[in-house]
Symmetry: C2
Subunit: 336 residues, 2 copies
DNA sequence: CTGTTAGCGCTTTCAC
DNA sequence: GTGAAAGCGCTAACAG
């Protein structure tokens, strides 16, 4: 049942070296030989042992995918795109999640377990500390960041400041003046994190319109629906004058919509809500959003990583476009 | 930077065999020796090469996770639970998705690429053909199915018939008599698939109440929000007398809610909708559902798989409970 | 409790 | 275009 390369070599009347070459499509194999080897290998159901091949060649044909969650829209979408791309090139995707605990510090990324295990690393939306990034880089394999990455490293992203300005400006055009921004955990303060960039974009848009953007209007909650619901409830209670909320993600925006319902506020008559993402289910509640292509970012990042693994060069920063999708959660500011 | 087992052995003044034993926590190593080896390995940042270890031992400490999608609630949740559990036991999760194309046949699962690559396989919600399952079994590693699996194999599931009856009975109790069932692709006809079991549960509940469950009320759509929206639109147009829809999943139920909105039907006054899942975002539209614990199923399945890999025995079928969560998409049947 | 010695199943020079 | 042979870096008997 389980054949080795020698069985194939013997059956084909060639050496194991030739079988290895033929199966991997290397040059310097006579077409007739190649065909024969391929046929026999197929017939025997032979597939090279990945461990043996890795040990001998030093390459694993495996890409590690590091992510904090998989059951969030952006992450699941990116991973789906990346996995599909890797598989198409006969690479495996090794999934490593790093839970970010509510309130507590997240488990630190341990690079050493990845040593000699992967040919490259895809870091999805995980704002890492400098030393962690250094450890990962120390593995000596190419790194590509998606959604969130430090300067100087290969990064696939969107223009977070622009997306945030777009969202905020949409609210401003609707006549809102008390526009709050709901963002992620306050511990996430790396200046290059998307959350931080979006805060900057919000401030810029507010400033450009001559509107105040005080600290009380910058609310930090946990980065999901329940977290946002809770944070938004607090905000809307203490600042009933707020007529619009720009949430840093669609999931957070959904939490805001739920909080509004909890408090008996009508959306968008009493409160306008906008997010960033283009979440699949945003349509369900008519969520206005600044949409991005998450699956495509996964595809692109994986493609670039594969290029790097093959020794190619890729652009340091790839910026994906976003577009404003106006639906039913934003409307004209209440009069008075 | 990158040390081998010999470096550690030399520094500790022992043989490589002892280093190997000490690092893996095997017995027959003096505590003092073990401590010394551990300290030196740590100091050197030594981690055994997985390829070399696999080649020598025949074990990979890797579990393959097979799934059709990752960006669907059930799948993402199960995978998240499983990955966390595997990681806790120092096992890696290798992600293999098998896209199910709309309309077309899905890509067939190719077991051979998994040969000698994994110590076990977790199949998540992928209704496989008998020969595919045979191929996977032929790999000689333990298999655990989650959500959907053939009789005679280790399976973590919920009682699909019961869940469907619970959902249908809820609608019947509200006075509905024309209750349609929206389910997945018609190609998915394996008698043991969850979709098929849910159809059976719906029919049973209808029959028990003396209500008709004709074929026209059993609607097949693609297994996601847009697919259900489309299928439900067709149904509601051709059968305006239908006052309630039981959808096979929450995502499909969301599609029904959207279809109702498209057609100007009020939910629940004109149409009641119920799903199965307990999707995170069901709350957003007050979706009534029969909830299950997807993350826990992933945890349990991974735990059992690890047991099997270690040579243990596990129950063939593990059935998770469900519970009816009544929210706002179901209400009394319209009078007349 | 520890060391010695074979491999595990490939890939990769280096010859021919 | 093909083969022989030397590893890749560990683990697993088997001794002692």
């Amino acid at each position: 049942m389980s054949h080795g390369i020698e069985d194939v070599a013997r059956a084909a009347g060639v050496s194991t070296a030739t079988v290895s070459r033929a199966l991997r499509g290397l040059p310097n194999v006579a077409p007739s030989t190649r065909d024969r080897v391929l046929a026999i290998a197929h017939q025997l159901g032979y597939v090279a042992s990945p461990s043996a091949a890795s040990l001998a060649s030093g390459r694993t044909r495996t890409i590690g995918v590091l992510t904090p969650w998989i059951s969030h829209w952006f992450f699941a979408s990116v991973i789906e795109g990346a996995e599909r791309t890797l598989r198409a090139s006969d690479f495996d995707a090794l999934l490593h999640t790093f839970e970010i605990f509510r309130g507590g510090p997240r488990r630190v990324v341990d690079a050493s377990v990845l040593r000699r295990r992967v040919d490259g690393l895809l870091v999805v939306g995980l704002p890492l500390a400098d030393d962690e990034i250094g450890d990962l880089a120390g593995l000596g394999v190419p790194l590509v960041f998606v959604g969130s990455g430090p300067p100087g490293r290969v990064l696939v992203r969107l223009d977070d400041q622009l997306a945030a300005r777009t969202a905020t400006e949409h609210l401003i055009e609707l006549g809102h003046t008390r526009i709050a921004h709901l963002t992620g955990d306050p511990g996430d303060v790396l200046p290059w994190s998307p959350a931080e960039q979006r805060v900057v974009g919000w401030r810029e848009a507010m400033a450009a319109a001559g509107l105040p953007a005080p600290k009380e209007l910058e609310v930090h909650g946990y980065f999901d629906v329940p977290g946002a619901r809770e944070a938004a409830t607090g905000l809307l209670r203490s600042r009933p004058d707020v007529s619009a909320v720009f949430a840093s993600s669609d999931e957070m925006a959904m939490g805001v919509v739920l909080a509004a319902a909890d408090l008996g506020l009508r959306v968008p008559q009493d409160l306008s809500v906008i997010g960033i993402d283009g979440h699949d289910l945003g349509d369900l509640i008519g969520l206005t959003t600044v949409a991005q292509h998450a699956v495509e970012q996964g595809v692109r990042a994986a493609t670039m990583l594969l290029d790097l693994v093959a020794g190619g060069v890729v652009p340091l920063i790839t910026t994906f476009p976003t577009r404003l999708v106006i639906r039913r959660t934003t409307g004209a500011a209440p009069v008075g």
